[in-house]
């Protein structure tokens, strides 16, 4: 059984897959997205949706800063603001002894020619985040950073991808990929899809997909835990993180407080299940109460752990398959991919349509991880 003629098959219906589909379809490509459960089921739907350039790895900064330009125009790209507000992201040094960490980081970005980060003193920090406990010393800030609404973003990207002609197949888990002449035949159980190009954007399951085309790419996974509280009246606008303690703290448009910061639960990738570790998560709760002492009586409404892929150097894989012509990879965003969603879609369209991109992705080859594995 074969469906309609396709130019590209995207495996993985998360935000990355939707973005790639959108950009490809707008360039006239016929695209199908194959999603094993449903759109946004895992990392995309479980994201804290931080739109952050602050404290990003230097290798990621060029595309991250470009992505920020796209976020500023996100409504023209996907027809909805995605709930994006640029109220800034601040990284707080609680103690004076933490301030050098921020200063060092600032020097590093300045040396790289980036002037988006700024060191602010306690007074300015408290002016921006009045609810913050006054003991804090200083902070690094990117005033134009912010956060979006993950579900609105999913809805907007899905809608515009479909409007551009992308077909989305949910409940369509890929089981095999074989060459078929100069094309690839992608099988999902009984169903078959054929196209000259295939994009692996399968998140926590990308390693399995890569193996189907002969790429053995070492890949770990994360199960980053998150807490959501009841709705409260406006408390803070910027997204707050900490030096030396795992915390990211923000308030959504609905008023709920979203507490994350990378504390790890447990994931069973095979069973597609993740588990919250409350002993570990209690550290997040403690950090929040230290920073915002009035929040102690807030009720936790739910917690979860979102599953996604993690590389050994915490940088993503973005680029062509080392072995399989016509296959491209984009995964391993290691817990900070949300902000890159619009740009990664554009990069994939460049790679597939023009055969290359001017965007700086040299640090994201799959080969770097495979070599490291060979050395080790």
């Amino acid at each position: 059984m074969s469906g309609p003629v396709l130019d590209t098959i995207i495996i993985g219906g998360g935000l990355m897959g939707l973005s790639a589909g959108l950009h490809l379809a707008r360039s006239g490509k016929r695209v199908a997205i194959l999603e094993k459960s449903w759109v946004g089921r895992h990392a995309s739907g479980a994201s804290a949706a931080g739109v952050r350039t602050l404290n990003r790895a230097l290798e990621e900064l060029p595309i991250s800063l470009e992505a920020m330009d796209m976020w500023r125009n996100i409504e023209t790209i996907v027809g909805d603001g995605c709930g994006f507000h640029s109220h800034g992201q601040v990284m707080v040094a609680e103690k004076r002894s933490d301030v050098p960490v921020l200063e060092k980081r600032l020097a590093k970005t300045r040396n790289a020619g980036c002037g988006h980060e700024e060191l602010i003193d306690r007074d300015e920090l408290l002016r921006l985040v009045p609810a913050l406990s006054p003991y804090c010393a200083a902070a690094l800030i990117v005033r134009t950073d912010g956060a979006a609404d993950p579900h609105r973003t999913l809805r907007a990207f899905r809608r515009s991808a479909e409007a551009a002609g992308v077909t989305i197949h949910e409940g369509c888990g890929v089981t095999a990929i074989d060459p078929l002449g100069s094309d690839w035949r992608v099988r999902a159980g009984e169903r078959e899809f054929v196209a000259p190009t295939v994009v692996n954007m399968a998140g926590a399951w990308a390693k399995t997909i890569a193996a189907m085309v002969g790429d053995d790419i070492p890949l770990g996974h994360k199960a980053s835990m998150m807490i959501v509280t009841e709705r409260v009246a406006p408390l803070l606008k910027p997204v707050v993180s900490l030096v030396g303690r795992p915390l990211s703290f923000k308030q959504t448009d609905q008023g709920t407080l979203v507490i994350g910061g990378g504390l790890q639960g447990r994931a069973d990738i095979e069973a597609e299940q993740s588990f919250v570790d409350f002993m570990e998560l209690s550290r997040s709760a403690r950090a929040v109460i230290d920073l915002f002492p009035t929040t102690g009586s807030l009720r936790i409404v739910r917690t979860w752990a979102g599953m996604e892929a993690k590389t050994s150097d915490l940088l993503p894989v973005i680029g062509p398959s080392p072995r399989a012509a016509g296959v491209f990879h984009a995964f391993g965003f290691s817990g900070h991919g949300f902000q890159l969603v619009p740009i990664v879609g554009a990069i994939m369209a460049d790679l597939i349509i023009a055969g290359g991109t001017r965007k700086q992705i040299a640090s994201f080859t799959a080969e770097r991880l495979m070599q490291r594995q060979a050395v080790a």
């Binding site: 609810a131 409260v232 009246a233």
Partner: protein, 97 residues
């Protein structure tokens, strides 16, 4: 809306939005709210419409109110104590310092 069958056993006083009202030790705060007029405990966070105790067994969360300074308290699960301060909760609670 509701009335006691008998005179109060072990009477205490609680303050509902600042008004002193009689109550019985250990009955639920929600039961006291249901004897006030008009009956309501909170307003919903989205539409701001009034809500009153509905299930009385901790399932529905419509009886939330601020009790002794703690907002979003499930009043149906909270026993009355003498001198308790009960404030009806209006929309989203605030934790601004």
């Amino acid at each position: 809306m509701f009335r006691k069958l008998q005179s109060l056993d072990e009477e205490v006083t609680v303050y509902v939005d600042g008004v002193a009202v009689p109550a019985e030790a250990n009955e639920s705060v929600a039961a006291v709210l249901l004897r006030q007029s008009p009956v309501w405990a909170r307003t919903a966070p989205v539409s701001c419409s009034r809500r009153a105790p509905y299930c009385m067994m901790g399932v529905c969360f419509d009886c939330l109110a601020t009790v002794d300074g703690i907002a979003s308290t499930q009043t149906c699960l909270t026993p009355v104590r003498d001198g308790m301060l009960v404030l009806r909760q209006k929309g989203r609670r605030s934790v601004r310092p």
